[in-house]
Amino acid sequence: MRPQSRLAPRILIGLAVIATLLMIVVPLVYIFAAAFAQGWRVYAQNILDPLTLHAIWLTVLVALIVVPVNIAFGVAAAWAIARFRFPGRSLLMTAIEIPFSISPIIAGICYLLLYGRQGYLGPWLEAHDIQILFALPGIVLVTLFVTSPFVAREVLPLMQAQGSEQEQAAVTLGASGWQIFRRVTLPNIRWALLYGAVLCTARAVGEFGGVSVVSGSIRGQTNTLPLHVELLFNDLNITGAFAAASTLTLIAVVTLLLKSVLEGRAR
């Protein structure tokens, strides 16, 4: 049995490396290869195009709104679920996961049916001259929906595993709620919180399906970076599409680097 057990790991590692190269590394590398297919100058020109710059800015803006909100939500949900028992608790836990398993397209359709001119709230919104869809609020709302579970998912299991002894001790010592959170809870969960925030950011930046239903793709206005990739692709500017895609890929790679640093810290 001995020789086999020495051979097996090599075969398995080899298989794993080859499969990963084909399935993940090549598609990743290809994005940059295609983006630089016509050289640095064309690449720079594609990135510095005002519409691409606007798409980058809009995408960053959406993430800047969405991520803090979902951090607040994630922490609140984790605190309520991990620290208290109440009826409907497990139902709430499942409900939080809903956006995770639903197709983003369906999220978009839901928002359209609610806020569209022909939707349930449409007439009221129009009477009050409030523009939700095809504008920043619509994009932000759909992105909030899609990314809402990410922070909660990371923080909740950790808070459950850690238990509440430290916090209860703090209560006995007369600490206020905010003090307990800042001095006891936050230091314990900060890496998980950051990790969740990083994942949430990646997803917010890359959201495509849901946003494509509610954005209206107005150039230089409601066109997020992933939508801009599709738009450039349809403009027959393939190199431009890959150039825009490469900025998104870069964000993804930075996200992953941050994540592995955070994981290292967490251990």
Binding site: A80, F84, S101
Partner: protein, 279 residues
């Protein structure tokens, strides 16, 4: 909310009303009301019309394609994910950390970007397409193309649910089996696999749910041929574009139903996995 009153000793900690209130309010506004709007719209359709929409040849073909492709994608990831989880937890080799970090790429990479790249790679003059074309294999605009896009975007799910369980496994059982002369494969089959099974199934279920709902990566590669390579999410999108709100809502509701079922199944499996671990 009088429920916040410290009736039970569990509630010595402050912030119950605030945190639960925030959570419920947020969930209601962001998730529940929009989903309710969809269900309400579905209820307006009426059962006969609803059935006519979802059982039309085109819708049936779309559901069949989506489910078949998602199953193929999940099968690919079941094999690949298990392999990766095993290799990443059991062996030490140079570049392991990079390999580990790469597992999260499909999660961080926007799906539209993944779709764009995969489509270009597999097109007749792309890097992969050039190799496959002489063999008579064409990936874009086929079921296989849809399945490949789905498997890419759901890669992390199996790996990341199985990995921690494998890491926590008590090595004593394996040692015992090894002393008794069992082969490595037998040990895996008889000792390791049953222990990771609940987590493995849960991971596969999430991967399946994700594949059923995937859109961004697929629209680039699928070709959107009605009855052949049109996925259900895209059909819902097309129905919207045709002003057919009832059609869009009905198809979306079916997808929502699938997603909720799979979510419940995976939650059950995870609870089972937890019990397994505690035993």
């Amino acid at each position: 909310m009088s429920a916040a009153a410290p009736i039970r000793t569990k509630r010595v900690l402050p912030g119950f009303t605030l945190s639960l209130g925030t959570t419920l309010l947020y969930m209601t506004v962001i998730v529940l009301i929009p989903v309710l709007a969809l269900i309400l719209k579905g209820a307006e359709i009426g059962p006969a019309r609803f059935w006519a929409i979802v059982s039309s040849p085109r819708a049936l073909a779309a559901f069949r394609l989506t489910i078949t492709a998602a199953l193929i994608a999940t099968a690919i990831n079941a094999v690949y994910g298990l392999l990766m989880a095993w290799v990443l937890t059991r062996y030490d080799f140079s570049g392991k950390r990079i390999l580990d970090a790469l597992m999260d790429v499909p999660f961080a990479l926007p799906t539209a970007v993944a779709g764009l790249s995969l489509t270009a790679l597999f097109s007749a003059n792309g890097w992969f397409g050039q190799v496959l074309a002489p063999l008579g294999i064409s990936i874009p605009y086929t079921l296989l193309g849809v399945a490949i896009a789905m498997s890419f975007t759901s890669i992390p799910f199996v790996v990341r649910t199985v990995q921690p369980v494998l890491e926590d496994l008590d090595p004593a059982y394996e040692q015992a089996a090894r002393t008794l002369g069992a082969s490595e494969f037998t040990i895996f089959r008889r000792v390791v696999f049953p222990q990771i099974l609940p987590a493995y199934l849960a991971g596969c279920t999430i991967a399946l749910a994700r594949s059923l709902g995937e859109f961004g990566a697929i629209v680039f590669i699928a070709g959107n041929l009605p009855l052949k390579t049109e996925i259900a999410a895209l059909l819902a999108f097309i129905r919207l574009e045709e002003y057919d709100y009832q059609g869009a809502a009905a198809i979306a509701l079916v997808l929502l139903f699938f997603a909720l079922i799979l979510l419940l199944v995976s939650n059950r499996l995870q609870a089972w996995a937890l019990r397994y671990k505690e035993r």
